[in-house]
């Protein structure tokens, strides 16, 4: 498993998939604090020549900068994660690489789970490095964001992205072709967010996995505590485990 993990992580790095995710995280870690700090001034300058219109921008602080950063990771980060992970198994199957690897003394389960582990390491690295950078940069521009909620925010962001990763890798193992896998993962992402319009304020809303990311802003503002994430976390875990188990079971018997 260690050999497979090293191979998969090396491939992730050298094929620029992991650097792309990491650069995206760094981009938001720099852009969002700047945006929070200077957006009011920018808007004021833009509107300075316009008479009769008054735009009141709310005062932005470190919490807003971090909330904006996590929000971008949850949306654009999830999108990019799907793009880079959709071929993890499907592309190797299409090209015959998985057949080559799996005719060496390598089990199909370790082959599948090492990919999940390598991408998980990539997600962990991206979220932790970019959160640290965002927090430090925010502190230098506007004052320190709250440490505890920021750390919890990063933890829940990792878990949210892990759900996206589980669905994408599952689709990649279950479907023939990386485009189909990517399409299925995007469809799931849309399905994941649709209930926000319908059940967000209901009891059922608590169990919706999207709350792993949407609650982070409230956590930073102090209007939510980590325990509020538990129902959504449990639901996300069940969905991810079911998809991964189905994919792993199917892949262990699939024709390559």
């Amino acid at each position: 498993m260690k050999t497979l993990f090293v191979k998969d992580f090396r491939q992730l790095w050298r094929t620029f998939r992991l650097p792309a995710l990491l650069l995206l995280g760094i981009f938001f870690a720099i852009l969002d604090p700047i945006g929070a700090k200077y957006m009011p001034q920018i808007m004021e300058k833009l509107m300075s020549g316009t008479e009769g219109i008054t735009i009141v921008m709310p005062e932005m602080g470190p919490v807003d900068a971090m909330a904006s950063f996590f929000g971008d990771l949850a949306q654009i980060g999830a999108f990019i994660l799907i793009v880079i992970a959709m071929g993890a198994v499907a592309n190797e199957r299409e090209r015959g690489i998985s057949a080559w690897v799996l005719t060496r003394p390598v089990g199909r389960q370790p082959y599948f789970w090492s990919k999940f582990a390598a991408y998980t390491a990539g997600v962990l690295l991206t979220v932790s490095a970019s959160t640290l950078l965002a927090a430090l940069y925010t502190a230098s521009l506007m004052g320190a964001p709250p440490v505890g909620p920021t750390i919890w925010g990063a933890v829940f962001m990792v878990l949210y992205l892990e759900l996206i990763l589980a669905i994408t890798l599952g689709a990649s193992a279950l479907l023939r072709g990386q485009i189909a896998a990517g399409g299925a993962a995007f469809a799931f992402l849309i399905l994941l967010w649709l209930p926000q319009l319908l059940v967000d304020q209901t009891e059922l809303g608590k169990y919706m996995p999207y709350r792993l990311s949407s609650l982070i802003a409230e956590l930073l503002k102090g209007s939510a505590v980590p325990a509020d994430f538990l129902p959504a976390l449990a639901a996300a875990f069940i969905v991810a485990a079911a998809v991964l188990a189905a994919a792993s079971f199917y892949f262990s018997r699939a024709e390559l």
Binding site: T3, G96, I97, A99, T103, P105, E255, L256
Partner: protein, 326 residues
């Protein structure tokens, strides 16, 4: 116990039968040639053996272990498999591919490094070892694939067209290598090049349209297809008058003479008499005979005969069909 045992193996792809009730046994220690024209089902059979495809019917066993999707790790450690067109994990260099193979086979670090250096030199890949394998030419990929197969020194090799992308020198070296494994390991390989198979194999099987036409030891196959024709070579050329004397015999149908040899073909039902009289005749002529052998069909001719008997070329159209075999 045989290295490969296949019983009534069938495989269908959406109604098309790629394999139909194939039964085959490969003895341990054999160098076994698996022949057939394009689309005969060779690669399908090999993929089933390697647990990459699920059979539609029948069963197969490798080294006594039943074949199922995803062979056991223990069995895979004993098998070196080369696919028809080897592809390697993307972004890894040739050396890293070999290191990966060595690691998953559990070869200790020091031994692994030494073996990798040796095998890189042996397969002329040392200069390209630190380049990504994805950028290798087809011949280099085949050499790297063979290096990966040989690195763990397994006792069973399953090779799908192992020399198809190699230049003549590389091809000869690999064939010699395969021949050198006889008795030490089992080699099962598919090939279109019948001269290669004839050179190194001791057993052959012929597959056509998913059906097994023949399996036999090469020796008994060639014996079966022996011609009623002897070729005699002389140190100083055939003695004058010998060809005419042979032509006069009732058992000789055709005599061919050249500066170094004479070939005599027996008339129908004349073979036994020819065998009785030819040697005493040669002994009496006073010339020094350097070789005396009965000729046989070469494997290519036997292969073509078998395929024609099975209906090959009827739809493909004459030479086009034959050329596809070469």
């Amino acid at each position: 116990m045989n290295a490969i045992e296949i019983r009534d193996l069938s495989k269908s792809f959406r109604g098309h039968w790629a394999l139909q009730e194939v039964s085959l046994e490969v003895p341990r220690g054999a160098v076994y040639g698996f022949l057939g024209p394009n689309g005969a089902g060779k690669t399908t059979a090999i993929k089933i053996l390697m647990g990459l495809l699920n059979p539609s019917g029948g069963r197969a066993a490798l080294l006594g272990e039943k074949v199922r999707p995803g062979l056991s790790r223990g069995l895979k450690k004993r098998i070196g498999y080369l696919p028809e067109e080897p592809v390697f994990p993307e972004a890894l260099t040739g050396r890293e591919v070999l290191e990966f193979v060595g690691e998953v086979n559990g070869i200790p670090v020091e031994e692994r490094r030494a073996r990798i250096e040796q095998i890189l030199v042996r397969f002329d890949l040392a200069a390209a070892a630190n380049r990504r394998a994805a950028g290798y030419s087809r011949g280099m990929r085949q050499r790297l694939g063979l290096a990966c197969v040989l690195l763990p020194q397994p006792d069973f090799y399953i090779l799908d067209e192992p020399v198809s992308a190699l230049d003549p020198v590389g091809r000869l070296e690999v064939l010699e290598l395969l021949a050198s494994l006889r008795g030490k390991a089992t080699v099962f390989f598919s090939s279109h090049v019948l001269a290669d198979v004839e050179r190194v194999c001791d057993h052959v099987a012929v597959l056509y349209q998913g059906r097994l036409l023949l399996q036999s030891s090469l020796e008994s196959l060639l014996e079966q297809y022996r011609l009623p024709r002897y070729r005699i070579s002389f140190r100083e050329g055939p003695p004058p008058g010998l060809a005419a004397e042979l032509r006069a015999r009732p058992w000789a149908r055709k005599v061919e003479a050249s500066p170094g040899w004479i070939a005599v073909e027996a008339a129908p039902d004349g073979l036994a008499q020819m065998q009785e009289e030819l040697l005493p005749l040669l002994a009496g002529c006073g010339a020094v005979v350097t070789s005396y052998e009965r000729e046989h069909e070469d494997l290519e001719m036997i292969f073509l005969k078998l395929l024609r008997e099975a209906g090959y070329g009827e739809n493909e159209g004459g030479m086009a069909g034959e050329n596809a075999l070469r």
